[in-house]
C-alpha cells in the first residue's frame, strides 16, 4: 500500500465528509482531535471508512487521540496493520 495514496484518500474523506469543507488544507501533522476539528463521532466514521477503503480493521480501543490525532498518525496506524 502506497503511503501517499493512503494519505490522499484519508485527506479527501476528512475534508469532505468530516470537515464539510473540500477546499480546506489539512497538513500532515495538523492535530485534528486536539485541535477541535473532529471528535469521537468522526473517529467512528474514520474507522468504518478505513474498513471499506483499505479492508483494515482498527479496533475501537485504538481510535484514540494518541493514535489518530493527525493524518500522519492515521496513515501509520493503517500501514502498521497492513503489515
Amino acid at each position: 500500500m502506497d503511503r501517499e495514496e493512503v494519505k490522499k484518500r484519508l485527506r479527501d474523506f476528512i475534508v469532505t465528509e468530516l470537515l464539510n469543507n473540500p477546499k480546506y488544507q489539512v497538513s500532515d501533522d495538523q492535530p485534528l482531535i486536539t485541535g477541535g476539528m473532529i471528535d469521537s463521532f468522526s473517529l467512528a466514521q474514520v474507522g468504518v471508512f478505513v474498513e471499506d477503503a483499505f479492508g483494515i480493521y482498527i479496533p475501537d480501543t485504538d481510535l484514540t487521540v494518541k493514535k489518530m490525532d493527525t493524518l500522519n498518525m492515521m496513515t501509520d496506524e493503517i500501514l502498521g496493520r497492513a503489515g
Binding site: 470537515l19 464539510n20 485541535g35 476539528m37 469521537s40 463521532f41 474507522g47 468504518v48 480501543t61 487521540v65
Partner: protein
Amino acid sequence: MPIISWQFGLFVVVVLAVYYLLPRKAQNIWLLTASVGYIATWNTFSVVVLMVTILVNYAAGLRIWQSSRKNPKWLWFGIAVNLAALFFFRIESSGYLEKMIRGILHITDTANAFELRILLPVGFSYYCLQAISYLVDVSHQQCEPEKDLAQFSLYMAYFPRLISGPIERARSFLPVIASNRIVDNEAVSRGFTRIIIGLIRKVVLAGILSGYIAKDLFSAPGNYSSFDLIFQMFLYAFWVYNDFAGYTSIVRGVSDLFGISLSANFDTPYFAHSFTDFWNRWHISLSHWLRDYIFYPFSRFLLRKKINPRSVLYLALPPLITMMVSGLWHNFGAFMLCWGMLHGLFQAAEKLMGRGKPAIKWEDRSLYKRLGTILLVFTGVVFTWVPFASGSLSRVAGYFRAVFTSHAPVQITTLYLIPLYAVAVNIALDWIQYHSKDELVFRRWPIFIQSALLAAALLAILVSFLGSQSALTNFVYQGF
C-alpha cells in the same frame, strides 16, 4: 480506611517502606497483600466479592484465549457474570430488592423490619469495568491473558485506585506490573506534587465549598430564593469537581511513589468547548471506557448498516444510549437516568446544530466566541448536576419549581465571598494547567516561587483539615 485520614497516611508509609526493600516479584505479592488488607479495613464482604471476581475473570480470560474467536461463549459468559453482579449489587444497594420482597410478603411493619440491604462492595463498580475491558481485549487479541494469578489479582485490586478508580486497561497496566519499577527523584517529585494538588482540591477547596451548599437545598428548596438556588448549584459544580479531581490526584500521587503511573481522570473539564469535549476531560477513564465499549461499537454498527452519518439516528442514538448507561452505572435511579439522558441530548443537539457546517479550528475562533462557548457548556453542565445531586426526580421537579416561584428572600451576604475565593483559586489553578497543557507545570517554576507556594499550600491544608475534619473523609464518587 478513608483516603483522607492519618491512618491511610501511615498505611502508605509502612507499605512503601517494605516495598522499597523487596525485589520486583516480591513487591507485587506485597502490594497485593497490602491491597487485600486495605479493602478488609472497609469490610470482609468486599474482600470475598473481590476474590471471587478475580478468580472468575482470571479463568474466563484464559478460556477466551483458548477458544475460537468465532465462538465467543466464554466472553459472553464473563461479561454476563460481571454485569449480573453489578446489576444485583446496584439493585440491592439501592433498596429496590428489599422493597420488592417487602411488597411480595406484604410486610408493612417497619418496627419489625428485617434488614436485607447489603452495601455495594467497595470499588466493585470500578474493578468490574476493568474486568469487562480485560475480557473484551483478550477476545479481540488486543492483549494476552495474564497467566500469573498474582499479577492479574494486582491489576484488579491495586489499592490506590481500588475505591474510585481510575479505571485502568489491562493492555497498559499489566505490562507495568510485570516490569521493574523505577522510583527515582522525578517519580517522587511528581507523586508529592500530585498529592499536594489533590489535598488543595479536596481538603481546602472542596472543604470550603461544601460548607456553603445547603443540606436541604433539594428537600426544602422553597426556603431559598431563586438566586440562592442557582448560585448554590454553581458552587456544587465546583465542589463535586474538586472533590473527585482531588481524590484522583492524591491516589495518582501515592501510586507514583510506588513507581506505577495511573491514568489521568481530569483535564480542566470546565474549560470544555463542547459537551463531547467535556467527556474527554471529566472522569476520563470512565468516559473512555464507555466510548470504547459502547459508543464506538454501536456507532460503527450503525455506519456499517449504511445509516447516514448526518442523520438524527446516527447523531442522537449512540450518545443517548452511552450516557444513559453511564447514568445507570452511577446509580439505578430515574434521576441518574435523567442526568445521563440530558448529557446524551446535549451532545446530540450540538452535533445536529453543527451538521453540514464547515469545521473551524478552535484557535481560529474569536476570543468572545471561545469564552461564550466555554460558558455555555459550563452552564449546561451545571444544569445537569441538578438531577445528579438531587437524589430523586420529584426533588428535581421541586428544585426547578422553586427556582421559578420561590418568594424567599435572597440570603446573599459577604459570607458568600469565601466560596467565591475558593472558586477563583480553582479557576486560576485550572487556567494555569489548561494554558500550559501540563498539570504539574508548577515544578518548572522558579524555586523560590515553588517554595512559597508549597508553604502556603501546606498551611492551607493544615488549617482546613483541623477546621472541618468530619466533612472531608468521604468522596462523592466513593458511593458509586
